[in-house]
Symmetry: C2
Subunit: 423 residues, 2 copies
Amino acid sequence: MIRPRAVVVVTGSELVRGDRRDLNGPFLAGELVRRGIEPARILIVGDREDELAGALGEGLRADLCVVSGGLGPTHDDRTVELVARAAGAGLRVDEDLHRQIGDISRAFAQRMNRPYVDFEQGVRKQATIPEGAVSLGLAGTAPGLVLEAGEGVVVVLPGPPGELQRLWREAVEAEPVRRVFARAQPPDVRLLRFFGASESAVAKALADAGGDGDGVEATICARDFEIHVDMYVQPGAEARADELVSGLAAPLERYLFSRDDRRVEELALDLCRARGLTLATAESCTGGMVAERLTSVPGSSQVFLGGIVAYADEVKAAELGVSPELLERHGAVSAETAAAMAAGARQRLGADVAIAVTGIAGPGGGSEEKPVGLVYLHAEGPFGSRSADFVFPGDREGIRRRAAITALHLVRRLLAHRRDEPA
Amino acid sequence: MIRPRAVVVVTGSELVRGDRRDLNGPFLAGELVRRGIEPARILIVGDREDELAGALGEGLRADLCVVSGGLGPTHDDRTVELVARAAGAGLRVDEDLHRQIGDISRAFAQRMNRPYVDFEQGVRKQATIPEGAVSLGLAGTAPGLVLEAGEGVVVVLPGPPGELQRLWREAVEAEPVRRVFARAQPPDVRLLRFFGASESAVAKALADAGGDGDGVEATICARDFEIHVDMYVQPGAEARADELVSGLAAPLERYLFSRDDRRVEELALDLCRARGLTLATAESCTGGMVAERLTSVPGSSQVFLGGIVAYADEVKAAELGVSPELLERHGAVSAETAAAMAAGARQRLGADVAIAVTGIAGPGGGSEEKPVGLVYLHAEGPFGSRSADFVFPGDREGIRRRAAITALHLVRRLLAHRRDEPA
């Protein structure tokens, strides 16, 4: 079975100029991979006619082309017109759409106290679709569309990510799209997540286990200090995949922290919840990032009580009870201060477990003895504690992110391991 | 003058599969726009030979092609080989590079207690470059490269964003790249940043002022609750650009908060610094996001003292002095609680100004009376206070982000306006 090939075309001047990062390409690519379709390329272009026409021409040579953006009411939104041209289809005003979009625009004009005549041209433009195209419903006043073109199928979706995702759910139910999906076999996926191992150690373990191929495609991806291995397994290659998973897991077992894609903040919260423990944070250089990550998880309020962002030393003393003598003797960036911050957070916030972070995120504030990137972490619970220190590479943002992720892993390790195990 | 046209080719299986968002395309596109080069498209492909070869073939037809990724030591990193093929150039082992990469790998092998022979093939592979290519220096063991190919120039850079950005700074100094830049005219850029205005109101004001064109290209971009207008002004069109700027600024003056691209957290910190005021936060539903944004700014420690993430009601009471009676009477999500949190943060953390956020981020916890998305904000300073409430649309992440950004704008407005001005 040959995997159907897809091209994603994303249009938007602000995207091709680098003013904004595209979210739709990765979303659509992930959706396609999950269904066994190969996203051969993601093409980001502006709204210049020749560039967009070229991209759509390429897209229409694939089995499935998904287009994002360029559906607005103004003249520089050319996607529909150029899709029709690339597909060799004429354009027609869809009467149903014209009525629906007209109603919405009339209500809007009234609310804004503007004459409807200002909108008429835009309404007609947005109700104009390629001959043979089927509407997926409206996003605002723009219809999503499906069109069969030659050997392939093209899906046209609006640019705002929320709207795109909503109309994509309609697109996957459309008959022409279902026919493309029917020719594909969704792959089996195996996930392995490592923390503390190097990317090259993981790559070597994979090579030693025979490497990928033979129906298993593996990607190794370093994200901050985590290494993510995703294996896409074709039907019939399950045994080979099991071998590779064992080959990776055995030499790297102490670094393997998950076989699913829960983030470390979810794992830390789940471990607390399973043990009936509450959690608090005390942060200096990460400035609230650890708390922000924990509270990004729905339901975190069952476990997470709160945190102190103790940026100034006075706040470390007043809110976390770190003694001025200790701060004076060891400095705010020290193992002793990290331990005192964790103890203070547990006591002040009444939490069972606390994680503390103090360090130098830069660019200023470093010294020979305490360089930029130096970070002390301390996790304390009712049954013991763990501490760690690092000199993280990277810029301010990278240092803070790595410190926050490592702090969450320290909580995970404090809770996942037995007392008698080494850190 | 015709603007030179550039194509950015980004390679990486994890990117084309949607497992990770590409950062290099937007970075490079922004760099090119700033120099007056038109980034015609950003092309994201995996490491499949035919797909990557096709993308590079396209790239080499542009005046400048910048390629990111696929420079590793293993067989599936094919960028150099395929660039050479697309350029019709042979491959050669560069003796200097071979020695340098060999030295690095020998030291690494020793540190890892592995025989150097394991690395030999990879070293030779990474020292192999197209005939006529010039090295930009190493990122780890991978060289960045510049090559003239036909009418165009191709720059090959490593995938990790930090390394790519470092070698890009070398690439812009390379002679063939400078020659492309010399044919371009960096555009004049005008920035306008609005908060609280709708995208359509900004679009209408732009249209009423005559719209873009005639040497001015404008992008209007909604980011959370901010509307960003960037105008790229060709030489000779400065007067037209001034007209458009006035046309936009006049009707929307009360929403216009900046004419440069400082983020709102920078503006808030700058306003505090200019007045000699210190700042603190008290957060519930945003869980530390406001503090995290403030501390992302280098030097924020001169102004920002710290914050309390008061997720549990007990923490609101104990750490911010919000009275249990008030919490009981009005609820944790109320204007009264927001005001008490701000007052508590000022007092407890000894700050001049405090901003408080409390709300329901969802997906659970909403009711008919207090729906998901309801957020109360309160900013208090020595000379007065401002409060606001919203029902933000979107998911948990979107509600939290909008709440955090709006909180920072509330601080900005508290400090930017005179006492006698309305909120």
